[in-house]
Subunit: 253 residues, 2 copies
DNA sequence: CACGATCGTTTTGCCCTACCAAACATTTAT
DNA sequence: ATAAATGTTTGGTAGGGCAAAACGATCGTG
């Protein structure tokens, strides 16, 4: 995120208010005011303005996010040209593997899940369309990091704040860089339970002929069904095939 | 939309800016400034603040909606408890009919499409998830209007501004009220090409045991494949069955 | 490649307005 | 029924949002 020189304070307030509504799933004036750290009156005016525009709706005295965001989300997705091309292949990955398959892109140094497809035995995770996470501890994240332009990778890594989510999480820049090198050689990135213990996965980037990274797809599942043999055997095979088809379709766009 | 007594002007500005980005699919400072009617400097500060929060991203000198909206959209959708229950039945409707099937809810007097499923021969329309339209000229809209609480219906109708989209569009309050009465008796609402000439459909509301309207589902298609016999025969039959299953599942929530 | 034109960004100062505190209205709890 | 808590509105003030202009970067063109 570039730092704004002259931020509009009132806008920042409103965004903070919206974030409280997002995090709580609906809140009342007093609760929002306490959370954001401003007076009740101020919060009320902000919520009223947002409501007038359909960004917030009021049920009784509880304010919630309005459905207008769904409209904006659709238009934001429009920017991802390869979306439609990708989803059908992710569906196939989920069906073939029986696991959870994901399509993720990078924005401002975060991985943003844009599509999920659940196979027969798919794990239940908190991942949803729009879910954001760090790049250094996921298969898709590392896949994208490994293949993006070097200067961008350096910039993103420089700003990373590593957090030890599980015993396997990489928390060192140079360990990460070594793994990225291995990923570039093999073409597949793995998550060996680095986000959630017992949850593993494999992913690969989607690139055009110039090498520009558009996103990544992955298959994730419990380690008990995804032993070494499968995780480094048929799963990468499925992913490679899917990526190949997607990349061919990109070219014709 | 309730009218705000003390709207926050700067927030309204920002929302106007976002709306320009939505409508244009990405714009530059000067263009946004002209469109919104404020100075370049002001627009720049707003965009910078939005960018800092991930709501807008900058590609070169063009600003576009950020993927953060996808996250917010997901949380907004959470409010619709029947969402997951409904989508699988809408999929079935699309497959059975081969046409386009929709799930729509009402918010602030507008119909908002929350899910679409395309059958084999589905028409290509501009309808997308998040798409908003008026209630008086669609099957889902009339279905919801017909079955909602009387006072709410009166209020919504009182604020309607009828527009003659096609020769068949209802533009008179009392003609609409008569049709709603017929819809309540039959249980199915029709769109006889009132939105787009040649595009017809049938829909029905989803209600709980108290009669509260949660939304509506519909099947729409070209009149050449949806003649009177089919539109008032097997199509309503499919819809009735789907609604029945959804309503049973609601009860168990 | 140079030059002008256009656009993006930053600065400045003024006027407005976003904010808080408090009063008032409404709802909730006991 | 009464009190306590919350939602909404009001007024005054100080901080900030705004337009205009200067500055800097970029684009297009001859």
């Amino acid at each position: 995120m570039t730092e704004a020189k002259n931020p509009v304070q009132a806008v920042q307030r409103t965004l903070d208010v919206l974030d409280v509504l997002r995090a709580t799933g609906g809140a009342r004036v007093t609760e929002v005011a306490r959370e954001v750290g401003v007076s009740k009156g101020t919060v009320h005016c902000h919520l009223a303005t947002l409501e007038e525009n359909g960004y917030v709706i009021k049920e009784g005295n509880e304010y919630k996010l309005g459905l207008r965001f769904i409209d904006l989300a659709h238009h934001a997705k429009d920017r991802i040209g390869i979306f439609d091309v990708t989803t059908s292949e992710v569906d196939t990955l989920a069906e073939e593997s029986g696991e959870l398959a994901l399509f993720t892109v990078e924005e401002e140094g975060e991985g943003i899940c844009l599509y999920t497809a659940e196979g027969e035995n798919a794990v239940r995770t908190e991942i949803y369309v729009g879910y954001r996470n760090n790049l250094y501890h996921t298969a898709v994240g590392k896949a994208m990091l490994a293949h993006m332009a070097e200067e961008k990778r350096d910039r993103l890594i420089a700003h990373m704040e590593f957090e030890q989510l599980t015993p396997r999480t990489i928390t060192d820049e140079y360990v990460l860089r070594e793994e990225l090198e291995a990923i570039r050689e093999e073409g597949i990135a793995y998550n060996h339970g680095e986000t959630i213990q017992g949850l593993v996965g494999a992913g690969a980037p989607i690139r055009d002929q110039d090498g520009t990274v558009y996103g990544a797809v992955s298959i994730i599942g419990p380690v008990r069904r995804m032993g070494e043999e499968r995780l480094e055997g048929e799963i990468p095979e499925m992913i490679r095939r899917a990526v190949n088809i997607i990349e061919i379709n990109i070219t014709s766009l």
